[in-house]
Amino acid sequence: MTAAMTETAKIRLADFSFRYGKTEVLRHISADFPENRLTAIIGPSGSGKSTLLSVCNRLWTEMPEAKVHGKAAIRLAGEWHDLCDRQAPSQQLRRKVGMVFQTPNPLPMSIFRNVAFPLKLAGVGDREQIRSRVESSLRRTLLWEEIKERLDVDARRLSGGQQQRLCIARSLVLEPEVLLLDEPTSALDRTAAAGIEELLMRLKSDCTLVLVSHYLEQVERLADQIFEMSGGILCSLETG
């Protein structure tokens, strides 16, 4: 990476292209996503927004038919990591780059174990530490007061909005530097969506957020920077 790279960029794409089999999903994308800001990407379904997110935590390497060209890098703890390297170990990287999916995806286990799951994966064994980190993560997503009495209930019994906040809490428990959100409110009703939006505004102060969304209206309320994706091409929109 060159020294000319601005220090505020968290994720940088330069002439980046992505192919899946024979389909070109992303074409020659160049963009910077700044640190501790909410960057939003809007655009129609199938335009490649989710694919772009899966580049940012190297989840694309799980797809055997995917191929990338150009440059894509992320800066974690002050150090740049190449996102195009299929062979590089991705576990550490994904612990610092959380991801929230469109449909809430709690695992079929208790609420507590869902949030503690990434800690288990990372090999944290100290029960006291696990307990306090789960609690603070649930507090951060404003879920603690609602569910502190029933932490050992199956997480799939929560409401949709609660499930999505649980999934955000689960991503936050490892204290990621970046959080990727793939249409996190599209499966929720209006009130639950408003709850998630409020949460995102609070998270922005110490976490870089990349939000994919269908709704320009939502994005205008939240984002510091907006891109529009269309047919695999990314272009910047002015923010008001």
Partner: protein
Amino acid sequence: MNRRGELILIAFSWCCTLLLTAAVGTLLLFLLRRGLSAFDMALFFGDTAPLDALLLRRPVFDGLFPALFGTVVLVFLAVACAIPVGLAAGIYLAEYAAPAPKRLLNLLFDVLAGIPSIVIGLAGFALAIVLHRTFSGRIGPCLLLSALSLAFLVLPYLIRSTQNTLEAVDPVTRRTALALGASKLQNILYVLLPNRMADLTGGIILAVGRCAEDTAVIMLTGVVASAGIPDSLLRQYEALPFYIYYISSQYSGPDELERGFAAALVLLFLCTALFLLAFLAQRRLKERLFYR
């Protein structure tokens, strides 16, 4: 499809289900009617005291106990050998194998699944002869050899059911743990397998049933009509399916035939108990993995 065609199809489906249920019911009733009257302690233990027989203090000469014992040990041994290999091979095929070796192995395991059990019995028998020669008569057809042959027989089912089960996991669940920083192995062990425990148990139950009922394999690899309780895995043994086969082909009177029917009932109950055990173990294991 028009409304009438749909109705006909529904009626046909109902009839088929009914026919099958009726067939199973008739079979059960027939067995119960013919075999139930022979059900008593003497059926299992002959004239040996039940407690002495259960504690293996005195041998049973004229009862089903040794055959029951033999079948239970056989099933547990065979399944215990087959499960680790079957699961591991299934996981390899579903998660790790590159396309080319995967195609080849799929074909090979299909061939393996198609081998008639008598042929696997013959292979076991051939192995027994080799062992007999190598160890100057100390190892021949025996319980261990039967169990290994049976394990080989059910291996393709286990591999295929594990593979299909893992490949059926939806992409969202598959990526959940990966996005949270799980390694491939962690994803398999903590998410994919536990999520699919019920399907995996289905495969194992099929394997258990197959091990319990197969006669061709054990006939050639170590079962005999009268051996008592074997004192080691390298001895010959008795088993329920072989007892049933033996009685049905050379019973000497109505009493003995009745005992044959009773033995069939015992085998049926044993299988039910084993299925139940597998099911409960699955539930228990899932709870321990997920909710503690």
